[in-house]
Amino acid sequence: MNLRVGTDDVRSQLRHPMKFARGLGSAKHGADHWWVQRVTAAALIVLGLWFLITVLSLLHADYASAKAAVAKPWNALLLILFVVTAFWHAVLGLQVVIEDYVHTRWKEVVLLVAIKFLAVLGALAGVLAVLRIALGV
């Protein structure tokens, strides 16, 4: 373990070395949740703006042309990425909200599992639907 306690200023002398988490910390996941939330956020800046512009461009499209637009390879790819990344980011965010505000353990666990089920269901439904449109099955 790196103690990293300097002697050059009073504050660092008063800091206890235990301020640095050992191993991966008490949750055993390290900074993984925090990091993935940021990476998906960065991806969603681009994907979210692309989605907004695409929807606005298809505002008055009829069924056939909307379907043809989604079927284009780049649009299909980006739409799949958008749906998967959005659900992933949503689960990470909702997880923190639930952990912060739901203090009855069984309700907390039920909600945490429920949002994961819903997100996987939603993401898979979205991906399969885009594939069906893109591959014309």
Binding site: A41, L56, Y63, L94, H103
Partner: protein, 131 residues
């Protein structure tokens, strides 16, 4: 909500309202709203894959007065979560933590979200409205 009777720390009601509190709370609230909105996106794609009738039904629902109100809300939620999300990423990189900068960037998020929402609906109106 807790079933244990532990003392609670002072909560929001003891503080004077500040813009930084508003942006923080709104980020969570819009995040929750957008999580629900993602289901709407999936509904739209599923309808498009299911056939013309299902897609027409989807368009009727989101084009109804209630649908349009929800879409207005969701477009603002997306705009806000996007602007404030960028702000948080900048802060995560270690920048903008001085109090005046923090307050200024809070206002930028709020104003930016309103501007972006206005641009979105200007695009809709320029195409002759939503319905």
């Amino acid at each position: 909500m807790a079933d244990t009777q532990r003392p609670l720390s002072p909560h929001l009601q003891v503080y004077r309202w500040q813009i930084q509190m508003v942006t923080s709370i709104l980020h969570r609230a819009t995040g929750i709203a957008l999580a629900v909105g993602t289901l709407l996106v999936v509904w739209g794609i599923l309808a498009l894959a299911s056939g013309e009738a299902a897609f027409a039904q989807f368009k009727t629902c989101i084009g109804s007065p209630l649908g349009l109100i929800l879409l207005l809300g969701w477009s603002w939620a997306l705009s806000y979560h996007l602007c404030n999300g960028v702000r948080h990423l900048v802060q995560d990189a270690g920048a903008g933590y001085a109090i005046p900068q923090f307050v200024r960037s809070s206002w930028l998020s709020v104003i930016g979200s309103i501007v972006l929402t206005a641009i979105i609906w200007a695009c809709v109106l320029a195409q002759g409205g939503a319905a």
